[in-house]
């Protein structure tokens, strides 16, 4: 059986679902990168913390809505603390310092989860019913796939409205283009960074809910692999623009989802290797990113 023959509508549906979740993660990472020029490696740990919140709420028999509320509460609180205790004091330092700081935060959160919940983690089952299939045409699609796509589209539309129609959004876009000049004309740096980090956290909460449905076993390294794949996707798409970063996240999620479904089990273990080789090859040809255009596509090399 060839790989192409194995790519069915079912595989495409899975790819769209994972692509939608990865696109949201890419937006979350891209928003913070835009205003701080910082790759937040601790993003996956925010998702992990939200997933544990869902698992704990489910374990205690809380209703679904309370679990989701707790998930968002935990993720937003951690985002707020991260911004106040790490990003804000360090933002005038070099990107290398901030990068190392996000590594430190990532490992700190992972270690706390390890101490608190143990290496085996917990199982979040409160939203498991979303794994039931619904029939669309001739294809059985899991409800979570539909929910993920609809939620991602709604979140992206809301974000577009925020960025395109509000003064806060305009300030965020200007800060992403030239933070120094934006501040000189009165754009409040703390407000813009705070908003970017909180919106990014909100998206991490959404992703935590979606991923927990797809992967109910929540361990301290939950979402770590996804974050690395999304980061590769963001670089692949083009980091300098939110749109290209989002497209990169979606593309790598879509390909992961499709191949994850289409590849035989004994070959799917090679999927990450295949993905990263593809990323390297694309970046060798288009160093500015797959979707970058014009001056963004040109990268100065030494």
């Amino acid at each position: 059986m060839t790989l192409v023959a194995a790519i069915t509508w079912q595989a495409i549906a899975d790819g769209l679902g994972l692509g939608a979740i990865y696109a949201l993660m890419a937006v979350g990472i891209g928003l913070v990168f835009g205003v701080l020029r910082l790759v937040n490696f601790a993003y996956g740990q925010l998702v992990m913390a939200g997933a544990f919140a869902l698992a704990v709420a489910g374990e205690r028999g809380w209703p679904q809505w309370a679990g989701i509320l707790l998930c968002f509460g935990v993720v937003l609180t951690l985002s707020f603390l991260m911004e106040r205790l790490v990003f804000r004091p360090l933002r005038a330092h070099s990107p290398a310092v901030m990068l190392v700081a996000t590594f430190a935060v990532a490992f700190l959160l992972q270690s706390i989860a390890l101490l608190w919940f143990g290496p085996l983690g917990k199982i979040a089952t409160s939203l498991a019913e979303l794994n039931q299939p619904v029939r669309i045409g001739d294809v059985d699609v899991r409800k979570i796939t539909v929910v993920a796509i609809v939620t991602a589209v709604a979140c992206l539309a809301a974000l577009l409205l925020l960025l395109g129609r509000t003064s806060l959004g305009l300030h965020m876009r200007a800060a992403a283009m030239d933070f120094g000049t934006a501040r000189l004309i009165g754009v409040d740096a703390n407000r813009v960074i705070g908003a970017a980090v909180l919106v990014s956290g909100l998206l991490a909460g959404v992703v935590a809910v979606m991923l927990t449905v797809q992967t109910p076993l929540v361990t301290p390294d939950f979402a770590l692999r996804d974050t690395i794949v999304v980061l590769a996707g963001v670089v692949l798409g083009g980091m300098n623009r939110l749109l290209t970063a989002t497209l990169g996240g979606f593309a790598i999620g879509f390909v992961s989802g499709v191949l994850g479904y289409a590849l035989p089990t004994d070959q799917s273990q090679y999927l990450p290797s295949f993905l990263f080789v593809a990323v390297i090859l694309v970046l060798l040809v288009r160093p500015g990113g797959l979707f970058a255009r014009g001056r963004d596509a040109a990268v100065q090399r030494v």
Binding site: L170, H171, M177, D178, T181, A182, R183, L184, I185, G186
Partner: protein, 241 residues
């Protein structure tokens, strides 16, 4: 006695071991255009950067309407009524002309000087720079250098500043566009806005400004008035001193 619109007292700026500005004192009254000229590296831009809070002064005081803005963050200085037209324009090329103008409103902060009046200010800015109105839906990056300069000044003006700082606004412009920029500065003066104009066009600045400070090597060398505009010998001597 009323406070000066802008006053620098013994301002010093240092980059490591290098003194960029040494004990510079100057004043600008309400509605005045004050020139700041001098050779490259004299400390003109460093003075503006210190006022805007981009660099922290090593010493001295910066007062806007009698209130110290020294040590404030750039956005706080902007919101206290000081607007900068930066060197090289630094407009947001990927945003539309209209969006660039709207960004200028950020400089108003919570100030309610003479009421809101955004629409009225926009109308005035459009009247001053018709090209900004004509191209308001276009991407700012496609404008010519002169048009971008007009947009940069317009963006600063919609913040309704009390003090306008201009860093070499005529740099790289064709002579007719330089005339347009100085014409706009005249209209801004009539509006009662105080301007501190950093320029390389020394003679023209001295002739235009109410008072011009000539600095060299970070120090004040001369204070000139329009009647000194033709005294190029003295100016050249101060430049070379």
């Amino acid at each position: 006695m009323a406070d000066h619109a802008l006053e620098l007292r013994e301002l010093s700026v240092r980059y490591g071991a290098v003194d960029a500005v040494r004990g510079l004192s100057l004043v600008a009254e309400r509605g005045e255009v004050v020139g700041l000229i001098g050779p490259n590296g004299a400390g003109k831009s460093s003075t503006l950067h210190a006022i805007m809070g981009v660099v922290r002064p090593a010493g001295g005081e910066i007062l806007v309407n009698g209130t110290s803005v020294r040590g404030r963050r750039p956005e706080a200085v902007a919101r206290s009524g000081v607007a900068l037209v930066p060197e090289g324009r630094r407009i947001f090329a990927d945003l539309t002309v209209d969006e660039n103008l709207r960004l200028g409103l950020a400089g108003r902060g919570s100030r309610t000087l003479n009421g809101g009046g955004v629409r009225g200010d926009l109308a005035w800015v459009y009247e001053l720079f018709p090209i900004v109105h004509e191209f308001r839906k276009r991407q700012a990056g496609v404008l010519s250098g002169g048009q971008q300069q007009q947009l940069a000044i317009a963006r600063a003006l919609v913040a309704r500043p009390e003090v306008l700082l201009l860093d070499e606004p005529s740099l790289g412009l064709a002579p007719t566009l330089v005339d347009a920029v100085f014409g706009a500065l005249g209209a801004i003066r009539e509006r009662g806005v105080t301007s501190l104009l950093v320029e390389q066009r020394a003679q023209r600045t001295v002739a235009f400004a109410d008072r011009t400070y000539l600095i060299a090597n970070g120090e004040l060398r001369l204070t000139l008035t329009p009647k000194d505009a033709d005294d190029t010998t003295t100016m050249v001597a101060a430049y070379l001193s």
